[in-house]
Amino acid sequence: MIRIFSAIVLGLVLFLASLLTGASTLGLSSLFGAGDGGLVLLASRLPRTLALLLAGGGLAIAGTIMQMLAQNRFVEPSTAGTVESAALGMLTAALFFPGMPVIGKMLLAAIFAMAGTALFLRLVRQIPARAVLMVPLTGIMLGGVISAIASFIAYRYDLLQSLGAWTNGDFSMVLRGRYELLWISFGLGVVAYVTAARFTLAGLGEAVAISTGLNYRRAMLTGLSIVSLISASVVVTVGSIPFVGLIVPNVVSLVMGDNLRRTLPWIAYSGAVLVLACDIAGRLIIAPYEIPVGTMMGVFGSAIFLYLLLRQEAHAR
């Protein structure tokens, strides 16, 4: 009970802080008042805050499912080639179907993300079960190869700048009417929660999962679709935010164990709060300018990832 209560308080405080932080000053009173303050709030601050919460929560859920599918604690969309593939998909859309509506581009990016992730899972099957760390290593390298292809194409067609926007998460351009696609990840989160038990089973390995009566292929496909759609929607609207999907599930599982039914809401909540807090910090450090949340998470996330890695090494000995 205390845990839930303090979580709600922390969430609310950060939510309010996010509404009040930014280049133009908003007092608490303007939350209810009219005039310019109301416009800034409704058109910019509120959409931004919601986008942060949705992206963070979605990425944390995507990371959790990814870890179940790959049966490995150290993978997430940005260490499995998923994000890079989605960016390649966006590039393809920009080149061949420039007039396509955003939702179409997102679906194309999702298809690319799915193909890339499937390729990764295929490669992972070649890796002996003991070599735990080879899995993220292979994923990172696969991501490197895919992004080399993407930057080659982008370089040829003068799109390097757009590619940069998709690969480094930044919420400063989020306005009303430009982030609503992220609600998809909310819907997918609900789907993930309902079907959580299947991923827990799939995480036990193909043989065990099938012997319990699970339709393993269908569970894998569902999981893959959820991960790809969430990643694609985030990449399309704000750009990639690394490490959220990796750190959050690991830390939550350290505290609460592995029953997804119980932990998935906490995972979504923690992801949302983490990204929100990082973005607020990014807005404060060099105010009135901003540090993009992708960079903030890059610094913070890789440090925590290092800690998690070395910690598991210490346990293994």
Partner: protein, 322 residues
């Protein structure tokens, strides 16, 4: 194979590689040249010198590094060395400003940077490789993550510095063989020459280290001293290459492993020239083909990243980590 025969075969391969390198150099200098020859040769000559210096620095540093870590898939850039150089540069601009940076003597700066980098390399090295049987995968992953962390930290600081200072930084760090930082050529050549002399004297000891740490110590090699000195040489070579063209992750991995594959002999006196020549052929030849045949210049680093990444995954999956 008989030792004598092997020596002859190595000499033959190296002669062949040297011929190829010469052909690509000549092609680079002359193909598609129009107008005033002295201008063309001068202009391209500077570029060629930069390419050759980088080829040398990357090939030698990778091979030496792989010898002391006893592993043919780790390279200085996979362990994040070159990104550390960028972080250091960014930090200096951040702390002193571009003006302050220019006020300091270039040579003093370089010595300072080299000292910091070698210090870090030693710390990382002692920490990662001294513990009993740490998994090589962990070492690699930690290296890659350090690279990512340094990259993000530099991006973070680049956000904080003055935009005009940032321009100074920016044109240094986009990996490009086409717009090499030619102002640094002279001092780079001198530095490379100096550390090469030091490296040359280490080669016999490094050959012994190839058989393994314990055996090498039993044979009377002062392992710690050799490793420390070699790391020093490696970090300086990496700094020079990064200062000239920016970071390239997989280039060293490619040429070093190719050299191991084609040479019948594992000794450094044979492998090192082969790796250097292969690097020169790849860089100069690749740049010529891209510029003259496909007419896009700066894409070479992207292609190398692509090929190198696939090669790395291949090495990983084949499992030849030792």
């Amino acid at each position: 194979m008989h030792a004598d025969q092997r020596g002859r075969k190595s000499a033959l391969i190296i002669a062949g590689l040297a011929a190829l390198a010469l052909v690509s150099t000549v092609a680079f200098m002359t193909l598609g040249a129009r107008g005033n020859w002295s201008f063309v040769l001068g202009f391209r000559g500077v570029k060629l010198a930069a390419l050759l210096l980088v080829a040398y620095a990357i090939a030698v540093s990778t091979v030496l590094f792989q010898t002391i870590v006893g592993n043919r898939i780790l390279t200085p850039s996979i362990m994040g060395f070159d990104v550390l150089y960028i972080l250091l540069q960014t930090f200096l601009v951040f702390a002193l400003g571009a003006g302050g940076l220019n006020a300091i003597d270039q040579r003093v700066m370089f010595v300072l940077e080299a000292a910091v980098m070698s210090g870090f390399a030693l710390l990382l090295f002692r920490w990662l490789f001294s513990g009993a049987a740490r998994s090589i995968h962990l070492v690699m992953l930690v290296g890659i993550l350090f690279g990512g962390l340094f990259r993000s930290l530099s991006a973070f600081m680049q956000r904080l510095i003055d935009p005009t200072d940032f321009v100074v930084l920016q044109d240094r760090f986009f990996a490009s063989f086409n717009t090499a930082n030619t102002e640094l050529l002279g001092i780079s050549a001198v530095i490379i020459l100096a550390v090469s002399v030091l490296g040359w004297r280490l080669l016999p000891d490094l050959d012994v280290i190839l058989v393994g740490r314990e055996t090498a110590i039993a044979l009377g090699v002062s392992h710690k001293r050799v490793v420390t000195l070699t790391l020093f040489v490696v970090t300086i070579l990496v700094s020079v290459a990064t200062a000239l063209v920016g970071p390239v992750t997989f280039f060293g991995l490619l040429v070093a492993n190719l050299a191991y594959m084609i040479m019948p002999d594992g000794r450094h006196r044979v492998v090192l020239p082969a790796a250097v020549l292969l690097a020169a052929i790849t860089l100069v030849g690749g740049q010529t083909v891209l510029e003259r045949v496909f007419s896009f210049g700066t894409a070479l680093s992207i292609i190398v990243e692509f090929a190198g990444g696939i090669f790395f995954i291949f090495l990983l999956l084949r499992g030849n980590l030792r």
